[in-house]
C-alpha cells in the first residue's frame, strides 16, 4: 500500500471511530453509508486479486489515479478508483470494470489507463481492443460472458465488488447484517440448527457437516464447562488452490463475520485466524479488517450491546503443509512444532489447549453469513441433497480461462472444465483433472461426467479437497505427476509415523526408477501393497491419503506406466531419460534462436539452413523448444 492509501485508511478509521451500540445503530449507519453514495457514481474497479496483482494491477490502479488527477476532466463526478479482490478471470488480467456501465476490460496495462479515462469516462465510448472476446463474440460486460454467467456466487459474493480495506464498503454490501441478526434475534441453538438445516459440509476437503461439528462442540462444552475456541483454517496448502487466499484478501469481513456467528453458536470467546505465511496480503487485509471492525464495536467486548464478547488473534503459519491438519494446526498455535496427534478423542472435544474447539475452513465461514440471513432451507435447495450449496474452485493448468469460479455442487466435471473454463487451449479433450491436491487423484477424461461433489469424487478415487483443479493435457505425464506429489509429500511429512515417512520415500524411489525406464511390471502391484501400508499405518490424513495420486494414475493410466517400464518411452514426452529432442528440418528456417538459448551449445547449423541437435550432449532442458517460434523442435 502506498503512503497515500495508508493515510486514506487511517482517516476513514478516525471518522468512523464511533462505536455502534445496537443492531439498530448498525442498520442506521449502513443506510447512511448507502445513501451517501449515489447509485450512478462512476467507479473504476481494478482487480487486485492474486493473478492480477502478479501482472502489475497495482501499477494499473496507480495509473488510473494519475490519469484522473493529472487532467482537467470534463466530467461532473470524479470516478472512484477502487482496488478490489479477485474478479475471477485471472489469465485475462489485470481486469478493470467501470461502473455504472459495467464495461469490462481485460489485460489492461498502466499505459491504457489514460485512454480508458478519456474514451470511456469522458466521451462514453468503449475501448474496443480491451474487450473480452471468445469464439468470435465480443463482450462488453462481464455478466454476459459465459464464464461468469454459469456461476453461482455465495462465498465469493463480494469479491471484485468491494474494497477489502474499507469496512464501509463492506457494510454497504451487507456485511455483519447476519451476525447482528444471530446475536440479537436467535438463540445459539437456533444458529446451530440453521447451519445443520443448510447441510453445508466443510469446504476444507474432508466434507464433515459443519452443523454436526458445532453440535458436538456444544455438547462437549456442556460436559466440561470452561473456555471453547473457534479457529479459521486459512492454511491453504494444496498446490494449485487459491480460493481461500482470494476470499481472505478480497472479502475479509465475510470470514470474520462467519467466525462471530460460529463463536456465538458454540459459546466461544476467542477466535483464531490461522493463515499461511505465504499469503502476506491476506494477513494484512485481515488485520486491517479486524482493526476497523473493532473500532466500530463489531468485534471485541459487548458486541452491538448484546453482552457477547469475542476477541480475535491472527496466527501466521510457518510453512508446513501438515499444519492444515487440525491437530497439527492446534499444536502450532500453541507454539510448538506442528505434529499431528492420534485422534482417539476428536478435536471438538479436546482441541486447542485441550478444550472444545471448532475448526472451520475459510470458504465455509464465508458462506455462513448468507446461510444465517436466508435460512438453512434456502441454502440446502442449492446443489444436491447430500452435497448442498456451492463450491469455489481454482481451475488452473492447461485450460483457456484459468481462474476462480464458484458453482453449485454436483455439476458435471466437463461443464466446469469445458463449458465454463473453455477446455484445453488447443481444442483437444483434456487428459485428466487433478483434484484434492496431494491427497487427491487424477480423474480421467472418460469420467468427465462425474458430478463434482464430495461423494462422487471419492468414488472416482480422488477427493474434493479444498478446491484446486488442475487440468492436464496430452503433454502431461502421469508417472511424472505422481512423482511430483510424492516428492511434495516426502518433504512435507512431519516424520512422526514411520509408514508415512519411509513409505512415501520408498514409493518415490520406485517411481523414480520408472521415470528412468527401469523397474519391473510387477512393481506396479508392489506399489499398491505398499500404498495400503502407508494409508493404514499413518495417524493423520497426510499419510492416510498420500498414495491417492499414484493409485488413481495407476488405476486409470496403467498403460502409461507400462510404456515407461517395458517400451522405455514416455508417451507425454516429459520424463527426461526417456525422450530425445530433434529439429524438424521442414519447419526449421535456421533463425538461430535455439542456438542462442542452448546452454550446452549442442545445436549446430548454417544460418537460414535447418539446424541439428547433438543428442549425445543434449541435457533435454527444453530451452530450444521454448525459444523456437516455428514449431520445429520435436520431443520423442
Amino acid at each position: 500500500m502506498t503512503s497515500v492509501e495508508t493515510a486514506n485508511v487511517k482517516s476513514r478509521e478516525d471518522e468512523t471511530a464511533t462505536r455502534l451500540e445496537t443492531r439498530e445503530q448498525l442498520e442506521a449507519f449502513r443506510a447512511e453509508l448507502i445513501a451517501a453514495v449515489p447509485q450512478d457514481r462512476p467507479q473504476v474497479r481494478v482487480c487486485l486479486g492474486p493473478g492480477c496483482l502478479a501482472q502489475g494491477a497495482d501499477r494499473v490502479a496507480a495509473a488510473f489515479r494519475a490519469a484522473i488527477s493529472d487532467k482537467n476532466l470534463d466530467i461532473k463526478v470524479k470516478p472512484l478508483i477502487k482496488e478490489t479482490g479477485c474478479h475471477g478471470l485471472c489469465r485475462q488480467g489485470p481486469l478493470v470494470t467501470l461502473d455504472p456501465t459495467g464495461w469490462f476490460y481485460t489485460q489492461v496495462k498502466p499505459k491504457d489507463a489514460a485512454e480508458i479515462v478519456e474514451t470511456s469516462l469522458v466521451r462514453g465510448k468503449l475501448v474496443d481492443r480491451l474487450l473480452y472476446r471468445e469464439n468470435g463474440t465480443r463482450y462488453t460486460r462481464s455478466d454476459e460472458i459465459p464464464y461468469y454467467k454459469m456461476q453461482t456466487r455465495i462465498a465469493m459474493r463480494n469479491l471484485g465488488l468491494i474494497d477489502p480495506l474499507d469496512i464501509e464498503d463492506a457494510l454497504r454490501a451487507g456485511a455483519y447484517e447476519a451476525a447482528a441478526k444471530a446475536l440479537t434475534q436467535m438463540i445459539p441453538d437456533e444458529v446451530v440448527r440453521t447451519v445443520e438445516d443448510s447441510g453445508i459440509r466443510g469446504r476444507g476437503g474432508a466434507g464433515f457437516p459443519t452443523g454436526r461439528k458445532w453440535r458436538s462442540a456444544v455438547q462437549a462444552l456442556a460436559r466440561r464447562p470452561g473456555p471453547a475456541y473457534i479457529v479459521c483454517n486459512g492454511d491453504e496448502g494444496d498446490p494449485g488452490a487459491f480460493m481461500d487466499r482470494a476470499i481472505m484478501e478480497g472479502d475479509p469481513h465475510s470470514v470474520i463475520e462467519g467466525l462471530i456467528i460460529g463463536a456465538y453458536a458454540i459459546d466461544a470467546h476467542e477466535a483464531f485466524l490461522y493463515v499461511r505465511t505465504e499469503y502476506p496480503i491476506a494477513i494484512r487485509n485481515l488485520e486491517t479488517a479486524l482493526d476497523q471492525a473493532r473500532a466500530l464495536g463489531l468485534i471485541g467486548e459487548n458486541i452491538l450491546g448484546t453482552g457477547f464478547d469475542l476477541e480475535f488473534r491472527i496466527n501466521r503459519g510457518a510453512g508446513a503443509f501438515v499444519c492444515g491438519e487440525s491437530t497439527a494446526l492446534f499444536t502450532s498455535i500453541e507454539g510448538r512444532a506442528g505434529e499431528p496427534r492420534a485422534k482417539y478423542v476428536r478435536s471438538v472435544e479436546r482441541g486447542l489447549w485441550g478444550r472444545p474447539t471448532v475448526l472451520n475452513n475459510v470458504e465455509t465461514l464465508a458462506n455462513l453469513p448468507v446461510i444465517v440471513k436466508n435460512g438453512g432451507a434456502w441454502y440446502s435447495a442449492i446443489g444436491t441433497p447430500r452435497n448442498t450449496g456451492t463450491k469455489a474452485f481454482s481451475v488452473v493448468g492447461k485450460v483457456k480461462n484459468v481462474g476462480l469460479i464458484e458453482v453449485p455442487m454436483g455439476i458435471p466435471l466437463s461443464k466446469i472444465v469445458e463449458d465454463i473454463c473453455g477446455g484445453v487451449p488447443d481444442g483437444e479433450p483434456f487428459k485428466a483433472v487433478q483434484t484434492g491436491g496431494p491427497s487427491g487423484g487424477c480423474v480421467p477424461y472418460a469420467l468427465k461426467d462425474t458430478p463434482v461433489d464430495y461423494d462422487s469424487l471419492t468414488r472416482a478415487g480422488s477427493m474434493m479437497g479444498s478446491g484446486g483443479m488442475i487440468v492436464m493435457d496430452k503433454h502431461d505425464c502421469m508417472v511424472d505427476i505422481s512423482r511430483y506429489f510424492l516428492h511434495f509429500l516426502e518433504e512435507e511429512s512431519c516424520g512422526k509415523c514411520l509408514p508415512c515417512r519411509l513409505g512415501i520415500k520408498c514409493l518415490l524411489e520406485i517411481l523414480d526408477r520408472f521415470a528412468r525406464g527401469e523397474g519391473r511390471v510387477e512393481e506396479i502391484d508392489e506399489i499398491e501393497s505398499l500404498a495400503r501400508a502407508v494409508q493404514d499405518g499413518s495417524l493423520c490424513a497426510l499419510g492416510g491419503s498420500a498414495p491417492n495420486p499414484v493409485l488413481t494414475t495407476i488405476r486409470y493410466f496403467r498403460d502409461e506406466y507400462i510404456s515407461h517400464i517395458v517400451d522405455k518411452k514416455c508417451p507425454a514426452g516429459v520424463c527426461k531419460d526417456l525422450i530425445t529432442y530433434r529439429i524438424d528440418a521442414e519447419n526449421c528456417n535456421g533463425c538461430g534462436a535455439c542456438v542462442r538459448n542452448c546452454s550446452q551449445q549442442c545445436i549446430v547449423g548454417e544460418k537460414k539452413q535447418p539446424h541439428v541437435i547433438d543428442a549425445s550432449v543434449c541435457i533435454r532442458c527444453g530451452m530450444c523448444l521454448e525459444a523456437c517460434k516455428f514449431d520445429a523442435v520435436r520431443v520423442e
Binding site: P50, C90, F242, N315, R316, A318, R336, V396, K398, V402
Partner: protein, 159 residues
C-alpha cells in the same frame, strides 16, 4: 550489532512472555533479520519461557525459518502443480546454474538466496517466481537471467 539488539528488544516486547507466542516471535525475528541467530534464539526462549531445545525443534520443523544468514535478495521459485506442469523445475536449474548454488542455499557474498516454495497461489501466471516482493509471472529462463543480472549490476554499483 548494538543496533540489532535494540530492535530485537522492541520485537520481543511486542509479545507476552508465554510459550504460545514462540512461533510468532521467531517469525518477526526472521522477517527482520532474514535469519535467526543463536543469540536471537536464546533471547526468544528466555522471553517466552521455553527450553532452547523446544525453540530448536520449532525453528527446524517449519520451512520459513532459517538458522543461517540469508541473502539480500530472496528468490522463490514456485513449485505448485500448475507451475510444475509448465516446467518450473527448469527455472530452478537455470537459477542454480546462474547463481552457482543449489536450491535452499545462499551465495557466498550473501547477495542471493534461492528457494523453492510449494504454491504462491498465483497459478494463472504459471510458472511464477517471486524475487523479494515482486512476482515474475509466465517466467522464462531468459527473463529470469536478465532479472538476476540486473540485480547483480545494481548491487555492484553500490558504494
Amino acid at each position: 550489532m548494538r543496533n540489532q539488539m535494540v530492535d530485537l528488544d522492541a520485537i520481543i516486547e511486542k509479545y507476552p512472555g508465554q510459550p504460545q507466542y514462540l512461533i510468532s516471535l521467531l517469525q518477526d525475528i526472521q522477517a527482520e533479520y532474514h535469519y535467526i541467530s543463536p543469540e536471537c534464539l536464546r533471547l526468544a526462549c528466555d522471553h517466552v519461557g521455553v527450553p532452547l531445545t523446544r525453540a530448536w525443534s520449532v525453528a527446524t520443523f517449519f520451512r520459513s525459518f532459517s538458522l543461517e544468514p540469508r541473502g539480500e535478495h530472496e528468490i522463490k521459485v514456485c513449485q505448485g502443480t500448475a507451475c510444475h506442469l509448465r516446467n518450473a523445475q527448469r527455472l530452478v536449474e537455470t537459477l542454480e546454474e546462474e547463481l552457482e548454488i543449489k536450491a535452499g542455499q545462499t551465495t557466498e557474498d550473501l547477495r542471493f538466496s534461492l528457494d523453492t516454495v510449494n504454491c504462491l497461489g498465483a497459478c494463472a501466471l504459471s510458472p511464477v517466481v517471486m524475487i523479494d516482493e515482486d512476482y515474475l509471472g509466465k517466467a522464462t529462463t531468459g527473463a529470469l537471467k536478465r532479472k538476476v543480472r540486473q540485480l547483480e549490476k545494481a548491487e555492484g554499483m553500490k558504494p
